[in-house]
Amino acid sequence: MLTRRTFCGGALLLVVPACGSRDPGPPAAADRPASIAGWPIPACTKLSPTRFAILAAAMDALIPEVEGAGGATSANAAWYLDQLLGAFDTDPPRIFAGGPYSGRHGGHDGFDSWQRLTRVEEIRWRLYIEGSMGLAEREFGGPVKGLVDVYAEGLDALGESFASDSYDDRRAALTNADPAFLAVLYGHAVEGTYGDPVYGGNVGFVGWEGIDYEGDRQPLGYTAAQMARPQDG
């Protein structure tokens, strides 16, 4: 398991999901950097390379690597957010995984069969991600700033140098960040670290394994003994 310190010194050693394992994103630009300040930049990110590096650095500061427990970085929590921002690049959009099983404990893997959205769900998720954009069907509650703009503004406010800052300096900067943005960022960092891997984070289950959590259990479940005597494993 990489610790935060070893990561910052050798980020390129991290196994980053290949774009080919996801749906096709925008082609990698020839001048797109492989990393910025040690933060690997995926070729198909929805964010600019600079913003992605700031995002990864911020999530790392919120949920750092520690000895024996992967954090947001090794879980690729930033990828989770990136997948959400690009949810509508695929059809069906990658909002709701399928069911009923992941296939990891038996049964068919249904999680990777994404569910279609209802009409109002599509309005809702486009509103959340893209914003109301002056469209009447989205402005029933007034103008709404989408997640794309929320992150653009929030990451820009942290500043380009944030990605190069030390862990302590990044934590200090987050303390002074806009609380509304910080709440959104923190929520996504947590989701990306501990959510099901199908959503793009928690790669290799590092988030779950790091906190000794079993994750999804269907169709296996727990035995009577596992319920009543969890101390025995």
Partner: protein
Amino acid sequence: MADFDAVIIGAGAGGGVMARELCAAGWKVALIEKGRNPFPNLGATTLRGSLLGNDEIRRRRYYAFHDPLIEPRTFRASDDDAALRAEFQGLGVGVGGGTVQYDGDSPRVQRADLALLSTYGAVDGASVVDWPITYEDLEPAYDAVERLIGVQGLAGADPFEEPRGAYPMPPGYPSKAGLTLSAGAASLGLHPFMMPMAINSMTYGGRPACVNCGFCNMGCPINAKGSTAVTVVREALRSGNLTLLSECCVTSVDTTESGEAATGVTYVDGTGSVCTLTATQVILAANAIETPRLLLASATAAHPAGLGNGSDLVGRYLMFHMVFSSVGVFDSEIRSYRGRVITHALADYTVPDGSSDWVRGGYVELGGSIHPIDEGVAYPWQLHRSYMLDGKWRRRIASVTMIGEDVPVSTNRVELDPDTRDVYGRPVARVTYGRHAHDQSVIDRYMPRLKDIADASGAVETMEMDFLQYDGVPNSRHLHGTTRMGNDPATSVCDAWGRLHEVSNVWIADGGLFPTSTSFNPTLTQQALAWRTARHILGSR
């Protein structure tokens, strides 16, 4: 000639039961549900799986749940306050409604719950009343519904339970949290027992036994939970008499010009088209916030204040229960997320303790669980890493939670918000809810007793938690009142059968009917009331 014999609005706890009963009698019924259908083969010969999963992300993204972006709500604590948008009291939205994600807790009420005024007396500033029906009226409905949805439990284990026959299924496996807290409660002379639950402990109704995956609140992937979707709605579909219209949002109940009767409903379908259908009977089962919202939005010249609201009581006497907890932290592994959310309960505090007034507590749940995303966002980010590695909330807590009865107050109400609209362009629900002094007395008196149970169970520390969120907004997910039933049209919205006093063929089949909130989880009682209303509708045609 109407399109349907009946149209039911809302495919949740009450609407599902209603659909089953009417369809079984040969009625042609339209069941309209604004949410999605997560059960793609619900009407097939063999029910297989679902689109639900052990997936916290899906839950956080409001899958088949009330979504505050699609349908915002506003809240204020009193008429003097400004109403602010808030996320609160969300229930399942989709086929099965709240029964898809609920714990499955299915206790019956006690006789005194239906006769609060005559048993314990009035409370100043509250409208404490007797229900217009008795426990004996409900008992056959309880028996029927428990069989229809499948309830596990052990008759006689709860010494405060009304006499009853055997449950359809025996109790399932106990959790460590339930066992630990039960031992502590018993050491105090209390009487814990295994919670009656609408979850299969054995193969029942063609559905499998629960495997105790622990994700009840995200919906049961294998259909071991007796949601109304996989039980009664499925039965209704199998009868061939049900037309299930999911992803359709009813925008008004339509009436004759005189307003004496309903003719059907207008709704927006899944493509966004505005549609109408006609029906001989109209049944609202959308929940105690959404049903009054729809009645108020259905105002006409004959019903200028809203359908059935000549008394100005539609939306009033909103009750949520005070769901408050002493959360015990233990040295040893508890891992409450393994297995059903709750496996044990006790009812000792549903009876007044002989103090100078009649303040009483309520049903007590022993257990509770949390998964890591909800846990993680609850911790301050500065302490996240150490807290998550320790996993106190996830691994070492067990909660003692009381379902406290809040008294009905006329100013606690649902109205239409004058400023905020939902995705359909409808005014959203504005909720006003303030805590009565009686309710605070219940919390003050019983919170220490909940802590006593946690302490006696070996907790090394406890955290006392009110049901009000950080911003003062109540979030119990138990919705009652707002269309209360009674015999007097001046003091109630519906009659003793759930029919609007002012409209001859409009019925309510949700928690809105409750004149008082009782001291028990409400779902089974809502379902029993719906069953009873259905039988009355069938008998009176």
